[in-house]
C-alpha cells in the first residue's frame, strides 16, 4: 500500500494532470487545439533536435562509458585507480546544470580560457566558438555527465560476469572472440540497453544545462515548455506546455516499449 500511494502521488497524478491539461482549453473545456499545435514546424523542429541530442549523447555516453567500465572492472575493488574512477564518476554524473554549463563557457566560450590560449598560441580566432551554444555544444556538454552515469550503472553488470564462465568457455576450446560474441555480449546486452535507456531519458529531460548554455536558437523541447509557460510576447500558451510535456512522456514511453520488446527478443534463450 505505501508503495501504491507513493506511485500515485509522484507518478500517476502528475501524468494525469499533464494529460488532462493537454486537452484543456484556457477556459477549461475540451479541445484538440494544443495536440494539433504539436504538428507545428517549430514544435517538430524542437522534437527532432531533442531526439538528435539525446540519441547522440546516449550513444557516445554508452559506448565510452562501458569501455571505461570494462577497463576498470578487472582491478580489485580496493585498487586506488578503480576507487578514484568510481568516486569521480559519482560526482560527475550529478555535475549537470548551471555549474557544468558555466565550466564549459569559461573554458571554451567567448573569452574562455582555452579560447584565449589557442588564440595566443596558434593565432586562432579569439571570436570564440559559437557552436558551443548550439546543438553540437549541447551534445559535448551532455556527454560529460552521460559517460560517468554509464560507468556507474553498467559497472555492476560487468562485475556480474563471473571469471569462471570465461575459464569454462576457454577450457571447452572457445577462443576469446567466441567467448565474447557467444557468451559475454549476449549476457550483457539487457544491462547495456537498460543503461542506455536511462541515459536517453536523462538527456531527453535535462533542462538546467541547456537553459544555462543556450539562449538563442537550438530550442529543445524542455526549453520550448519554458517558453510556452513564461513568454511575455506570445500569451496564453500555458496549455501548450501540458501538450509538450505529454509528448515527452509519450516519447519516453515509446522508447521503454522498444526496450522491453528488444529485451524479450534477445533474452529468449537466456535462463
Amino acid at each position: 500500500m505505501p508503495f501504491l500511494a507513493y506511485v500515485a502521488i509522484f507518478l500517476v497524478i502528475p501524468i494525469v494532470t499533464v494529460a488532462v491539461g493537454a486537452f484543456q482549453g484556457a477556459g477549461g473545456g475540451f479541445t484538440m487545439a494544443q495536440i494539433r499545435a504539436l504538428g507545428d514546424a517549430t514544435v517538430l523542429r524542437s522534437l527532432w533536435r531533442s531526439l538528435e541530442l539525446s540519441l547522440a549523447s546516449t550513444v557516445l555516453g554508452a559506448v565510452l562509458g562501458s569501455l571505461l567500465a570494462f577497463l576498470i572492472v578487472d582491478l580489485a575493488p580496493t585498487h586506488p585507480l578503480r576507487r578514484g574512477v568510481s568516486a569521480i564518476c559519482g560526482v560527475l554524473a550529478q555535475f549537470g546544470g548551471v555549474t557544468l554549463a558555466f565550466a564549459w563557457m569559461a573554458t571554451l566560450g567567448f573569452n574562455g580560457l582555452l579560447t584565449n590560449l589557442l588564440a595566443d598560441a596558434f593565432g586562432f580566432s579569439d571570436a570564440g566558438y559559437s557552436w558551443l551554444y548550439g546543438t553540437p555544444g549541447l551534445i559535448l556538454v551532455y556527454t560529460y555527465f552521460q559517460i560517468p552515469l554509464m560507468v556507474i550503472v553498467f559497472l555492476p553488470a560487468l562485475e556480474g560476469l563471473r571469471p569462471q564462465w570465461r575459464e569454462a568457455a576457454l577450457n571447452l576450446g572457445a577462443t576469446r572472440w567466441q567467448y565474447w560474441t557467444r557468451v559475454g555480449f549476449p549476457l550483457l546486452r539487457p544491462a547495456f540497453l537498460g543503461s542506455a535507456l536511462l541515459l536517453f531519458a536523462n538527456a531527453f529531460a535535462a533542462y538546467a544545462t541547456a537553459a544555462a548554455l543556450v539562449s538563442q536558437g537550438s530550442t529543445i523541447l524542455p526549453l520550448l515548455i519554458r517558453s510556452a509557460l513564461t513568454s511575455e510576447v506570445v500569451l496564453g500558451q500555458q496549455n501548450l506546455a501540458y501538450a509538450l510535456a505529454l509528448e515527452m512522456v509519450v516519447v519516453v514511453a515509446v522508447v521503454m516499449g522498444l526496450y522491453a520488446w528488444l529485451l524479450r527478443r534477445t533474452s529468449r534463450w537466456l535462463p
Binding site: I9, F10, I13, P14, V16, T17, V20, G21, Q24, G28, D40, A41, T42, R45, S46, G109, F110, N111, A127, G128, S130, Y133, G134, V214, S215, Q216, G217, S218, T219, R226, S227, L229, T230, S231, E232, V233, V234, L235, G236
Partner: protein
Amino acid sequence: MKVKNMFTTLVALAATASVAACGPPSNDSSSSSGGGSDAKTATSAADLGGMDALVKAAQKEGELNVIALPPDWANYGTIIKTFEDKYKIKVNSDQPDGTSQDEVNAATQLKGSDRAPDVFDVGQSVALANTDLFAPYQVATFGDIPSQFKDPKGTWVNDYGGYMSIGYDSSKVPDVTSVQDLLGPGFKGKVALNGVPTEAGAGFSGVVMASLANGGSADDINPGVEFFKKLNDAGNFLPVDPTSATIESGQTPVVIDWDYLNAAESAKIPSWKVVVPQNAVLAGYYFQAINKDAPHPAAARLWEEFLYSDAGQNLWLAGGARPVRADAMVKAGTIDQAKYGALPKVTGTPVIPTNEQTTKMAADLADTWTKAVG
C-alpha cells in the same frame, strides 16, 4: 481547473509539508493589520485619509513584495533601496530576472499567501491581457500623466519608457549609425539581442526595430526576421543572452536592447556608446499596476505614490529611462536637467505598436523565428 488545483495541493501537501506550513502564520499578520481591509479597496491616498495615513498603514504592514525587477534595470536597485530607507519598509525582491509572464504566474500561483507580489511592472501585452488581476489606484500625480499613458481609472499606468537602441563598445567594433551596419565584417560573432524574441519583450522589440529599419512597419515584422537571418548567416549573430556581466567582460560587444538598459552600461564602460537608429525609432512603455490580492495593499499603494513622485521619476531618469511624467516635470522645473539632457538623441517619428499590432506580430514571429535563426 478546480481538479488541477486539488491535485497540485495534494502533491504540495505530501511532498513539501514544511513549505505549506509557512502559509497560515504569515496570513495572520496581514489580516491583523487594521488598515489592511481599507487599503485593499482604496483607489487613492485620500480614501485612506491622506498620505500620512497611507504611510502609517504601509509601515504597519512593514513589507513589500516586488517581482522581476533587476537591480540594473532602469535604476531599480537604487529605487528599492531609497524606498526602504525613506519609509523603513522591507522590500522583498523575488525573481529579479523573471519575465512579465512570470510576474502574473507568481500572482496566480501564490494567491492568498504572503509571498504573492504586491505590485507589477509588466510589458504591454501581458498588462492588457491581465487587467482583471489589477486594483485601480490613482496616485497623487495622476493628473500629470498624459491620457494615452494610463487607464482612465488607474487600473494600469505607464511608468517609464524608452527607445530600442544599439549599444556598442567603440573600442572593439566600428561606429554604428544604422541597423544595416551590423551586417558588416567587423561584427563577426559580436551582435547580441536581449532575450529570445518569442519570450522576452525586449528581444521582440529588437526584431521590430530591425523590421522598421528594413522597410517593415508595426504591421509587418517579417523584414526584421529576414534581417536576423542574414545576420545569423553572416556569422555576426551571437547566441548569448547579454547581461551587465557579459558586457563588462567583453563577451557581448554589441547589444540590441532598450536605450535605458544600454545607457546604464556607459557609466561603467567609457567606450560604450548608445545609438537609436534614425530610420527605426521604436518606443515602448512599461505598465505599472497593483495586485488586487496584494498581501500588503497599503505598502503597494505607497510604492506607487513613491514611483510617481518627482523623486521616483528622477530615479528612473537617472537609470536612463524616460519617466512618464517627464513633460510635466520639465514644465514645473522639477526634472533632473543634467540627466534629462544626457539621454540618447532621438530624431525621427517614434513608432509605438498598438496591442493588436503586437499580438499579430508575435503570432507571426512564433512561426518564423526558430526557422530563421534555429
